[in-house]
Amino acid sequence: MSTADATRAGPPAPRSLRVALAERRAALGAFLLTAPGLIFLGLLFAMPLLQLFALSVEGGTTEWYARVFADGLYTTIFLRTFEIALFVTGAALLIGYPVAFFLATTTPTWRAIGFALVMLPFWTSVLVRTYAWMIILGRNGIVNRFLLDYGFIERPMTMLNTRFAVVLGMVHVMLPFMILPLYSAIVRIDPDLARAARGMGASRLKIFQRIYLPLTLHGVVAGVTLVFVVSLGFYITPALLGGGKVTMIAMVIEQQVREFLAWNFAGALSVVLLAITLAVFWVLNRWVARRVPPAAGQGR
């Protein structure tokens, strides 16, 4: 369209055409650059996903989906899973924001130390970290021993094998996913903005409300989305820290796949989980697109 309009405009046409062609070539180049990634994702992500979907409707039946919603069991597990993911996201945001803020505004030395502390657990196996929590939270764990020895409590507290332990363990795993997008949002904000606001007598809270919060909303939404979506699929942490009392949907899917070979049903459960996840993603994206002008996030 634009090319056609430009041609009709007269003299500058050849140049515009050349520009348009160059643009197209650049776009093609960019596309070619992404091709390996796209092929990789297509083969290893999209294809299995389609197969999964095909399994869930194998034989043209919707009975597997009917079973997902048939009695309260699976819908309840879905709800519980979302509750936990929500708790984890909230806690990660509350803890992650101040950390990201500190990292973005401190001296280079402290920033290096801070990043090392954030990233070190990130590189440690989830299983190892989960076992570490078992040692810390157990009936004879570090926390209980300390509290007992100093007489703060008389009987060991039950911390391990509860929903609390699951959320704690998951927040620990997910924190870097929250901190990194937040950091990159905060570090882009011109410190002069805050300085100017302070100069004009704004309180710290006001500065946060009027400058930092709106300018980092993109980062917040990115972090929240990432943490929430990944949390939905957690499996080993709830199994080990929840003492079997916390059931998340991924655990049920795994059971159907490995133990009962009920792949059609597992496919249906997975497709429902995926659909809900995409819906959440879409809503968050829409919401932030409407709330924040896109420039704000990129502003410098």
């Binding site: 004879n140 039950t158 199994a239 796949v257 070979l261 009920a262």
Partner: protein, 356 residues
């Protein structure tokens, strides 16, 4: 055909007999199929892998020159995917003790070759299976802290349920298998009248114990770990997981009464390569002396009844098929669980959610 002689002699006898019977086939039969470079065996891993290597694989490698490669873990879903796709990476795989019937029914296993593997002296339950090779048995038993219950631990499932006589946090597996049987035994159902399971009665009995279960375990090493950490004082678990600890004088004890026996189960996946050599390896695992070696290392009894005599006296009381222990236990009914497993799992999950 003489059964009491050693493996090599048996094989020679078989080959001779076979070539005498089928004259035309004699030249090919006398020759063994070409040797592969390696045999891939998929099993549970952990302490078991080391013992299997010492008890069986090392000798197989020495005798045949074929390398044995271990992989883990046991994965029924993966087995089905392999057989379905015809891309079978395992020559032999272990499967869950409750899956022997199902694996045969679903056609995922090759039949065992009785000409190569001699199971004539195996316990009846292990002899009966056509596609599943069971060289060992394990049992789900009650384990407890002996330093907590100094006047004697629980003697039955009823005791496990008795929170007044045996107070303290407990752990059961987060799975209906074994627990339904245990609940019914605790409720007074005689051992020979358990199957078909009265499921409603079992769940009603489980209602009673639920508040006292602080952990529903998922992985095999959890019960022993939690007992050692004193996270719980009573738990169920697979006897071999406590065996080494008890021999090392950890303050743990197990009760065989009401133990639920299962077969350690191995199969050759349907359509797997180099089956002759896989069967040869299984034949080695049928050898009573080697089974005894493995049993003494792991705590899982050999199923060849001749293996018993090679067990030293200090280990004998700790093995599930020791006659005294065997008499106190029951065999899990695989057929019942194959038919009802999925429905039970759903009911179990529902029951668990209703308690949250």
């Amino acid at each position: 055909m003489s059964r009491d002689t050693g493996m090599t002699l048996t094989r020679r006898t078989i080959l001779l007999a076979a070539s005498a019977l089928a004259v035309s086939a004699a030249p090919t039969l006398a020759q063994e199929p070409p040797k592969p470079r390696q045999i891939v065996i998929n099993a549970s891993g952990g302490a078991q892998a080391a013992s299997l290597r010492q008890s069986y694989w090392a000798d197989f490698e020495k005798e045949t020159g074929i390398k044995v490669v271990d992989t883990s873990p046991v994965d029924f879903g993966k087995l089905r995917a392999m057989v379905d796709s015809g891309n079978i990476a395992w020559n032999i795989t272990e499967i869950g003790g409750q899956d022997g019937f199902r694996v045969t029914q679903m056609g995922l296993a090759e039949p065992l070759d009785p000409k190569i593997i001699d199971r004539s002296k195996f316990v009846p339950a292990s002899q009966a299976m056509t596609h599943v090779f069971s060289p060992s048995s394990y049992s789900t038993v009650i384990a407890y802290r002996s330093d907590v219950f100094t006047k004697g631990g629980p003697k039955s499932w009823a005791d496990f349920w008795d929170v007044k006589k045996f107070p303290g946090p407990r752990s059961l597996r987060n799975h209906p298998v074994d627990n339904l049987e245990a609940a019914l035994m605790a409720d007074g159902v005689p051992k020979d009248k358990l199957y078909p399971l009265d499921v409603d009665r079992a769940f009603k009995k489980l209602d009673e114990i639920h508040p006292h279960i602080s952990v529903w375990w998922t992985t095999g090493q959890q019960p022993a770990q939690m007992l050692i950490d004193k996270e719980v004082v009573l738990a169920t678990g697979w006897n071999g997981r406590f065996y080494g600890l008890i021999l090392d004088k950890a303050p743990l004890a197990i009760e065989w009464e009401g133990g639920i026996l299962k077969q350690g189960s191995w199969i050759v996946p349907k359509g797997a390569k180099d089956q002759y050599w896989s069967m040869k390896l299984l034949a080695m695992m049928a050898d009573p002396k080697r089974q005894a070696q493995n049993a003494m290392r792991l705590g899982y009894s050999g199923t060849n009844t001749l293996s018993e005599q090679y067990i030293t006296d200090d280990k004998r009381p700790h093995l599930p098929l020791e006659p005294g222990n065997l008499a106190k236990q029951i065999w899990l009914d695989q057929e019942w669980w194959t038919k009802n497993g999925q429905a039970m799992a759903e009911r179990w999950n529902k029951w668990m959610l209703s308690k949250q």
